[in-house]
Symmetry: D2
Subunit: 435 residues, 4 copies
């Protein structure tokens, strides 16, 4: 918990980071603590200050920091000189992960996916997915959506809507047609119909697509939620147009919305799925690209990468599946806590009518506070009071609650209390300032 | 050591990998053991078979597997619930790494670089480097070289020469002009002069470059070595043409050629340097993009990525610098073992005159055996006899020796013995077959 | 008039065209006469058969074939050895054209444009327009619209929606974002709002545009008409977003919709305008790119081309302006005949309710007959009865009436009679076939 | 002939061109006469001043201005209301041209080409050629050469080396690999070997080419001449690599080097040939793309354009073939005058040793005077003395003599006298200035 003193808890200007780390660093600017340790939903700074973590590595730490069982498995593996790096060798660690993934994730859901380990980042998983779709179809065009976020390497970046990231490409980003996401034009405009019309029109100017790539909930894009009906429409349009249907489940997957995959409730069957972030369970770099068995048309080595088999991550990912997904306890708990979250956020929004409204699904929820400036002020106020939380959306105007799924009820409540007080402080003062 | 029986030591067709892992997997095909443990230069399969490792994760394990000091540092960190994942937060682990890197690497070499953590893969480090160069210069064109390898995400892939990887892009790769590397056209043709002429010619058709990106030794490209004079010419051409001079030191850096950076002997001063592979010291995903201080023109967050601060890697990377680079013992040892390696390889080449010749520098050496088929047969023979080794080059025709720098002399000798016998077996039998 | 015999009037299989001309030829397939002479609205085949011309070179012959005054001016010029080809030299012919264009077109409309002669094709005028917009803004992205047609050279083709032409590019077409044209999504969806929303959204994924390029009536795209209000919205969006507002008036300009420029009624002020087709008045290759004076930021020679000053076309273009645009007689006549055309087409459409409906504006009108097959059958029937007419639209489903603006009332009526009978014959027989 | 007075013969600042024409105009700046009439090799300004024409529309007027027979054919055609514009209709004019081209050009040379009329500019012919090659091969990459000039529309511009033109593209130019032309690296470096090596190398980074496009003599690029042996090497490399061999004969064709096609002497058999410039014979916009019969894999209408059948040009082109190519008189005369030209230019070069040297072939010759500034001064001096001549080359350093092939011997001699005197004046004065 914050000390309450006026003393700066961290003086970044004297640190090695300030001297040596590139200006490109970002989170450390709005959340300028020097973190040392972390467990569960608690981050601890070097000076002992503790913070409740409502950022969770942008949904990378769905099971909290240093879960004791995952940690134990990893320690045991390292102590025994388990293979740490093995390119894409067969290994005990990989076998155990694959068997667990098959047993606990694929088989119960009757999914017949193969797994590609494409380099341990989400961007790499997306690059692999797009390459594969283009290879299979012989087409170059990919349909992506407004506010979609798929990574910042050039291939993934072309599918990403964010202007700051796109602007840094330095080359023209091609091969992607972007169209409005569900709800983007208001409740009255059916955005799937736009896509349908343009694809059906020989002069619509949308080249025949290799794939349609979509997030079920746009994390970075502002917690925009696609309806199940819309997702089914998009899937059907992909099928009708000979395109692969790709769900990028990097942020919304691994239980964040309740089920392991975020698309389970929608009843769709994506051809390719990308996973990363919380897949390793402990925050270790790890990603997979899932593809339907008949779509595994890669030649050996066509897509590679030095770190494509992160053995430590195999160990913790296996332990996470074993602990959290062999039964439905976590899923039910997320559903329950998701409701708590929804109710609390809606209550907060009601206190600032016309200024705020809630967004999201499951434990991937937030509140739109109107502007990025307001949101930044709330972030700062929360941080001063011991809560790590961040924003998303095109204008950074969404307070995004991404607490660990495993957070204790009282810690969740305390974090929400801090958020509520911060909103009152900032939005109240704004209201006063506007008078 | 290999068992010597005819029994397959591993039956991959029954494994989870065979059932579930994408066809894209590659090394496990030529080296089909199921690895479990590893230490130093020794890999151990699940069935207890041991192998000498002359692949070392393609130069990712320069200090061997599970170095006891690195391992101890990591275990200690995890046990104490050290922050495992923290986006780009300030952290104790990052601070300690940066301080060590400054003290041990930058200051003694009088280098004034800032560090960007661009996502924990070499490809990501290259993507960041190219973006930055394009941003700074406002130009899109990058000069790269034949047989250069810089990664397979679309931005990096455009600079990569390998046709198999390029062919998998599915989109047109643009923004790169490729010209012949040093020695590519034989000893008589000065390839730097081609670049010079084309850049100087207003109708040469080479758009003004943002950067020239080069490896000092092309690892994947076939152990081609650029001379110091050529590198200085290229650097001068970059300066004269307002382009940044980028050295991709992902495979050749971290001591592989003797010095920490592979370009130290050449007396050049690259504007941007990429490092990855052995940087973490223990095979954990980790990469940095170094840029001269005045070139750090990133805006906060312009290039990001979930795993851009791998805390475990900060810990082991710091420990590796502390152990191996505070003094010059490793560097001298690499020089010594590099000579042993050179002598042994030249002796092998002399046994097969006209068929083979040696290549490389430092402990990044190999032997060209003429064709990929021959090389594959040698790989298989080595593997059967307990040596893990792989090939490189456009045709896969180069036997590439990338032993850990820390390998014991006798283990190095045993590995080279196996290689020599395998070459005799394969090249001898080829000679017989040709008769 | 057609002979009425069953004899083929033209046996293309024995011609030099059939032996020697590429398969790419197209109009000669649906309209397989061998034409020899033409005057006004009448085409005459080598065998003496005459046809009323409702195609008019796709609006290239707005003043009919071989207008006697234009012809006389050209003959006089050639007889006196007037300069035929002079690159971009100053010349009497160019001066006279420019003076006439200034006096008759620019000054009365208070337009302060400069003229670029970019090579004598519409595609070239578009290429020049897009280059200039990109040069001025330093941006690469151009907004274009569904069903827009701007030419088939690679730069122009990127902005063209037609899938057949796009598919022939052989390279990825980039640098263009395509969005729905006015009315594309039905009367209820405001397509300008989609553009507005995506441009305003920092994560909308539409890179800051260099230009928005639009036709006021989409000729090739199917006679889709943009409303004046929509055009003003698009112009305003261009201004707000720092983009140039380009009107491609190649098909709709030169009086086709009534006024010289098709955008005059809408009250917009495009930054750049492209003209070609009827500009020379006699069907000679000729094009201009108009730009506001302060936007003439070309360096000498940046865009060039051997035929960029077609002196014969300067002569006939001047004569056409002098004859047809010094007063408002033509404009009024087009308004009057446009109404005749509208009434006749609406009457035809009423005869086939549910199957057909009218489209277009001024003397750029047509009738949607449902499918390309139906339209092709009507084209063939018309041709057999002495009317040259063609189709447009994404499916080729629009019968497009592009009679010379100067057509006599009785000839217009006779042509429309033939069209009406052909529609009856084809749509009647279709109705029978469907029973 | 020049008047010899000091009075400006033309005051461009008061003209409509100066008021209204874009800054992009270029030739009129160095050759600022206002031209009115022209015949044969003589240009006549509005004020009566006459000039010998050594520019000939950059080789567009190989038969001189307003050749009386071509002019007579055109006048007759227009007077009889011959079809002026007919899209790609069959027509008498087209038939007659095709029959003459078949009889006079194709059959005697045993060439089995089909003709595409791709829009009446050279750039359009190149765009069509590249599209077709990409369509046939399913590959996107095209090999082009340093200093190649193929036009400025985006598809052609990608293959053009000129930096000024490339810089005006505003978009990234892709799909082309550029390598050194014959002799580019001096006499000692075999540039075909570079191409061979890079294409043969799986990691050479040159994507499998759709085509290699080359000029036999680079007109705009500086009168660089490819040897017959080099052209045959390039052709063989195209064949071996499954690429089409395209010769862009737009400037060097139509007799400029002696034979109708510039490649006849080399014994090569290009798959595709582009022609434009002098093809119409009288300077009218006209272009063809020739393709071997089995390569005519266009679908109807895939590449189109409003002005793709310029009927007036069909008439004059037919007349030109009939007059100049039914026998070998012109060809022999060009050979003879080419020798005169060579001798005179060599004599001039000898007068300025170390400063100048000759270049070119046939009647496509020139003299390198070291710098663009020197060349510009010579152009100005020539112009003042009644000779129209221009420069080429990357630095504009080549005085390019492109007199009409039909120029009378005495007129050629007088033009060369003026050039010689101008060189003496300029290079002499430079020598003085340097002292």
């Amino acid at each position: 918990m914050p000390t309450g003193t006026d003393e700066p808890r961290h003086t970044p200007e004297k640190t090695a980071s300030a001297r040596l780390e590139s200006n490109v660093r970002s989170y450390c600017r709005s959340l300028p603590a020097r973190f040392a340790r972390a467990r569960g939903a608690t981050l601890e700074a070097a000076d002992g200050t503790r913070y409740i973590d409502f950022l969770a590595g942008c949904s990378t730490l769905n099971y909290g920091h240093n879960d004791p069982d995952l940690k134990a498995a990893l320690l045991d593996y390292i102590e025994k000189d388990g293979l740490a790096h093995g390119l894409d060798f067969y290994s005990d660690a990989k076998e155990a992960f694959l068997e667990e993934f098959e047993r606990t994730i694929l088989e119960p859901r009757k999914l017949d996916y193969r797994l590609q380990f494409p380099g341990p980042t989400g961007a790499n998983a997306v690059e692999a997915a797009l390459k594969l779709a283009r290879k299979i179809t012989g087409r170059h065009n990919v349909i992506a959506f407004t506010n979609g976020f798929h990574g910042v390497t050039v291939g993934a970046l072309a599918a990403t809507g964010n202007g700051t990231h796109r602007g840094a490409a330095g080359v023209q980003l091609g091969g992607v047609t972007r169209l409005p996401y569900d709800g983007y034009l208001g409740a009255d405009v059916d955005t799937a119909a736009i896509l349908e019309r343009m694809l059906a029109d020989p002069s619509g100017g949308v080249d025949a697509p290799a794939a349609i790539i979509v997030e079920t909930v746009q994390g970075e894009g502002g917690l925009n939620v696609a309806s199940a009906a819309w997702l089914r429409r998009i899937e059907a349009l992909a099928r009708e147009n000979g395109a692969l249907f790709i769900i990028d489940d990097i942020q919304a997957g691994c239980g964040r919305t309740g089920s392991f995959f975020s698309f389970e409730q929608a009843g769709v069957s994506p051809d390719i799925v990308t996973l990363a972030k919380s897949l390793s369970g402990m925050g270790l770099p790890f990603a997979v690209t899932l593809m339907k068995r008949d779509l595994d048309q890669w030649a050996p080595g066509e897509h590679n990468g030095t770190f494509r088999g992160n053995c430590h991550a195999f160990v913790t990912a296996r332990a996470a599946l074993e602990k959290f997904w062999r039964d439905d306890r976590l899923q039910k708990d997320v559903a329950r806590k998701g409701e708590i979250l929804r109710e609390r956020l809606e209550a907060m929004a009601k206190k600032h009518p016309g200024q705020t409204f809630t967004k999201g699904r499951g434990m991937m929820r937030g509140i739109d506070v109107g502007t990025g400036e307001t949101a930044d002020a709330i972030v700062a106020e929360c941080f001063a009071n011991g809560l790590v939380i961040e924003t998303s959306g095109g204008h950074g105007q969404i307070m995004k609650v991404l607490a660990p799924l495993t957070i204790a009820d009282d810690e969740l409540a305390r974090g929400l209390d801090i958020l509520e007080q911060a909103m009152d402080a900032v939005l109240g003062s704004l209201a006063v300032a506007a008078e």
